[in-house]
């Protein structure tokens, strides 16, 4: 490798971001642009009898008012991951709903006006006759007799039933165990809250009869595919999708949403006027997807020495009122199959019911299924430790998959021959214990308890499936993903020696323009400044599946690597010709082609690029230009892992939890840019801590989102947090030539259970063994004071 990979260089994208010059969706102004506002259902479950738009239409400044009936020719949005037998009961949203709504916030009409202010005025003038229906919001209660039924084709509101593992063997393990612990838990609903809400601008060209849609998307190519092939029924080349600067996504911007279709369809109705819709935060909370929301019961079986012999899980996963794009895959493939964690559990069985409720759609949110699995596994470990009065670190140690067991096939069966690639789990634990000085820490805790203070230490050892994914695995019949998950890259070395990399993945904060440039520059022996990375426009970039599942480096980055390798091979051929040497006699090192052993007489990659571009003297049969495209389908996923330690102190008078220290030891394989990797870890950790302590979406019994604003939904603020200590071990992934594993979700997958385990550890003197997230001050205080020995 060269000099660019592994360097903590400053980001190339930052100058425009720190000076206010970046163009996010709402910053785009097009000539003649009009503004849309969506009328959303105030009811969680209702039939739409009629909609009267006449008064709104007559308001000065209003350009048009449309309802679902105006777009009846458009198909419902597709469900692209129909896991667990979802087929004829995939109820998905429409561009605007026509007959009924199944959650508060579903769009029923749209006003287009000269300004957004006028459009909002007109919303109040639309009269909808709703027939209000009974409501159910809880994933499990929705399946009980007598619950309101949301969709005729989904009896008992069950959208899907899915299982993995061996039920009989797991039951036997439970029967044979020294101890069995049964626990119910909730993994609460979260609101992703990227700081930039969603938005879209649709432009129809009446002349070309095609569409351009700007959208806040993590996957513009996939959006084009889904909109054209499934919703509009037009060829792909009739739609261009552009993601401009995107202000965070965390999963919520992966999916196809009604509004992206709406702006395109409305622009066509209006003869090609550009139509902008920008989400308010209130809309973002009720109409953009949420994450998690599991109701679970599990049993864990163990021997008296702490060895876990079985794990049996039953989960009701709330999917919301309609199905989002990949909703089915999250609580199944990405959850159940991860329930072995970093441990050699011999028996696992997981049953999942995905259910419809009168709540907003639930889909992938940072980690997507894997945090839910990891949380459950790590709580189970601590429950076993507490029950057996063992040190939680030791229970982890005795259950780790040992290094010699890789590649390892967990009992949760990650399918189709897929195995954990590599790992040194105990190494990460040992490093973490050393860095926190564990022995002293326990003494400190004992002293604190003696002094009446509640200090707690929590662990989390995790593994995640990243670098999604081999197409043959993810697309396997039965898991229901209808496509591959390879990634693309085109690399061109222009005649000036400047390199342009185009990628099918999409950057919304991850720093691709820097890290991908580092990969290309490193291999080509060039300066990072000479490599430009372009992405996020279906015109001009090869098809790609987008950015999620910690896949951009581990899959997209490898596609760049492979393209560069092919370019180097061609450069060697041309360079040899220029040096009048035989191709097999030359080598490429440090940006130069030279005859082996004679580096003094070399042709730089820039000289070769010029020769290749002007092309008047190329070896016979060689095409001009250094240009190559790769479609890289990974042979396996990657499996980052690590151990995190969280230290808390609980104020027993108020229940307030203070995070005193947080240490993350992660193994993300080879790091392209440690600065960016650390940033990903910091942010990921804090999102998990936020689930542990503060965040939780709450619907009332009428299906109203009561945590509907940032005044109610507690996003972490700077003063809630300590500095996040990071360290790492480095086990290069054998899956790809760069040794990359992925880092985008690791922090989130690890951290919620670390803080929950720490709080439960702090509360152990009160006999408390479990509390459901978020561990709000009130909840902790109530736990202490209802424990029987809370009052002294």
């Amino acid at each position: 490798m060269g000099k660019a990979i592994g360097q903590a260089i400053k980001r190339k994208e930052d100058p425009r971001l720190i000076t206010g010059q970046a163009k996010y969706l709402d910053d785009i102004q097009l000539p003649g642009m009009v503004h849309a506002a969506v009328l959303r259902s105030p009811y969680a479950h209702a039939k739409i009898n009629s909609i009267d738009t006449s008064e709104a239409e007559s308001l000065p400044g209003v350009v048009g008012v449309f309802t679902g009936k105006d777009f009846a020719d458009l198909n419902p949005l597709p469900c692209a991951w129909q896991a667990g037998g979802v087929n004829n009961n995939a109820n998905t949203p429409r561009t605007l709903e026509i007959d009924k709504v199944t959650f508060t916030g579903a769009g029923v009409a749209v006003v287009v006006a000269e300004s957004r202010y006028i459009a909002e005025d007109a919303l109040a003038l639309i009269h909808v006759d709703y027939e209000v229906l009974p409501v159910v919001v809880d994933a499990k209660k929705a399946t009980e007799p007598g619950a309101p039924q949301l969709h005729e084709n989904a009896p008992n509101n069950i959208c899907m039933e899915w299982s993995c593992g061996d039920e009989a063997a797991t039951d036997q393990a439970l029967a044979d165990a020294d101890v069995v612990i049964k626990q119910s838990l909730r993994n609460q609903r979260l609101i992703p809250t990227p700081m930039e809400p969603r938005g879209a601008i649709g432009v129809f060209s009446p002349v070309a009869e095609d569409y351009t849609v700007y959208m806040t998307s993590q996957a513009p190519h996939v959006m084009r595919l889904l909109m054209t092939a499934f919703v509009f029924g037009i060829p792909e080349n009739k739609l261009r999708c552009i993601s401009p600067q995107v202000g965070g996504g965390f999963g919520a911007k992966i999916f196809l949403y009604p509004e992206y279709c709406m702006v395109a369809a409305v622009s066509k109705k209006l003869g090609g006027l550009p139509v902008k819709w920008m989400e308010t935060r209130r809309e973002n909370y009720i109409a953009t997807t949420h994450g998690r929301d599991h109701v679970t019961e599990f049993e864990v079986a163990a021997k008296n020495d702490g060895t876990i012999t079985g794990l049996k899980v039953e989960t009701y996963a709330n999917l919301g009122g309609t199905l989002s794009t990949i909703a089915g895959g999250i609580p199944t493939t990405l959850y159940g199959r991860l329930l072995s964690g970093v441990y050699k559990f011999p028996n696992i069985y997981c049953k999942v019911y995905g259910t419809y409720t009168n709540t907003g759609m639930v889909d992938a949110y940072r980690g997507a299924g894997r945090p839910e699995a990891s949380y459950l596994v790590e709580r189970a470990i601590d429950l076993v430790a507490q029950k057996l009065n063992m040190d939680p670190a030791e229970v982890r140690r005795v259950n780790y998959i040992p290094p010699e067991a890789f590649p390892y096939a967990p009992a949760s069966n990650i399918l189709n021959g897929l195995k954990y690639d590599s790992g040194e789990y105990e190494g990460a634990l040992n490093k973490a214990l050393e860095l926190v000085d564990y022995k002293n820490l326990r003494q400190e805790q004992a002293a604190a308890r003696e002094a009446g203070r509640l200090m707690g230490i929590g662990f989390s050892s995790y593994v995640e499936i990243c670098g999604v994914a081999p197409s043959a695995w993810i697309g396997l019949n039965g898991e229901g993903w209808g496509a591959g998950l390879w990634e693309s890259a085109n690399v061109r070395v222009h005649l000036t020696g400047q390199v342009v990399v185009t990628t099918g993945s999409q950057s919304h904060g991850q720093g691709h323009e820097t890290t991908m440039a580092q990969i290309a520059a490193d291999l080509l022996g060039m300066d990072v400044a000479d490599v430009r990375v372009e992405h996020s426009d279906t015109l001009g970039t090869p098809f790609g599946y987008g950015t999620y599942g910690s896949r951009s480096a581990a899959v997209g980055g490898v596609a760049i690597h492979n393209s560069v390798q092919k370019i180097i091979e061609k450069a060697k051929k041309i360079g040899a010709h220029m040096l009048e040497a035989a191709p097999e006699d030359v080598t490429f090192e440090d940006g130069k082609v030279f005859v082996k052993g004679s580096p003094d007489k070399a042709k730089t990659i820039q000289e070769v690029a010029l020769a290749a571009a002007v092309a008047y003297d190329l070896p016979e049969g060689t095409e001009p230009f250094l240009d190559d495209t790769t479609y890289y389908d990974p042979p396996n996923c990657t499996y980052p892992f690590g151990t995190h330690v969280c230290i808390v102190e609980v104020d027993k008078d108020t229940g307030h939890v203070a995070i005193k220290r947080y240490l993350a030891v992660d193994d993300v394989g080879k790091k392209i840019n440690p600065l960016i990797v650390d940033g990903q870890i910091h942010g990921g950790v804090v999102q998990g801590l936020a689930q542990g302590l503060w965040e939780g979406a709450v619907y009332d019994d009428n299906g109203q989102l009561v945590s509907g604003s940032l005044m109610d939904y507690a996003l972490p603020k700077a003063h809630f947090l300590p500095m996040i200590e990071t360290d790492s071990t480095e086990t290069p992934s054998p899956v790809n030539p760069l040794g990359i594993k992925g880092a985008g979700e690791a922090g989130t997958i690890a951290s919620a259970q670390a803080v929950v385990n720490a709080v439960v550890d702090a509360l152990a003197p009160y006999g408390i063994t479990h509390l459901d997230m978020p561990l709000t001050s009130q909840k902790v205080w109530e736990a202490i004071h209802s424990s029987g020995n809370g009052r002294e």
Binding site: M195, F250, G679, K717
Partner: protein, 157 residues
Amino acid sequence: MAEITVTVNGKSYTRDVEPRMLLVHFIRDVLGLTGTNIGCETSVCGACTILMDGQAIKSCTQLAVQADGSSLTTIEGLASNGDLHPVQEGFWEKHGLQCGYCTPGMIMASVDLLQSNANPTEDEIRHGLEGNLCRCTGYHNIVKAVQYAAEKMQGGN
């Protein structure tokens, strides 16, 4: 409509505005200075933070008419003669941003913080930025960025 005159980044503008227009919409949509972002409507997130007469405010919680006669600084006006402000430099050096959406507001709030407290402790930085939300960084590198700027503004390196 009401006529207002404001100075933004040193340049005077006189415009007719609807009284209900929020200052942030005036800055973004009337003046075309789109560096100031909007992240909520409840005055919590701070993405819209600008300086008004030298002090940080949330421009989503002001009417444009209230700003009549005032002098505003937005993110576009922070660098001088092409030189980044030390706070901007700190955010770049310390990787204090990822998606960048909260960044203009975060930078303006940090500038204000350092005006009133040139050498803040970590705790003072964290509390000083309680009016600004970031979803990407976990604030770790934002704290470092402000520390970098504080040091630089006091003549350090």
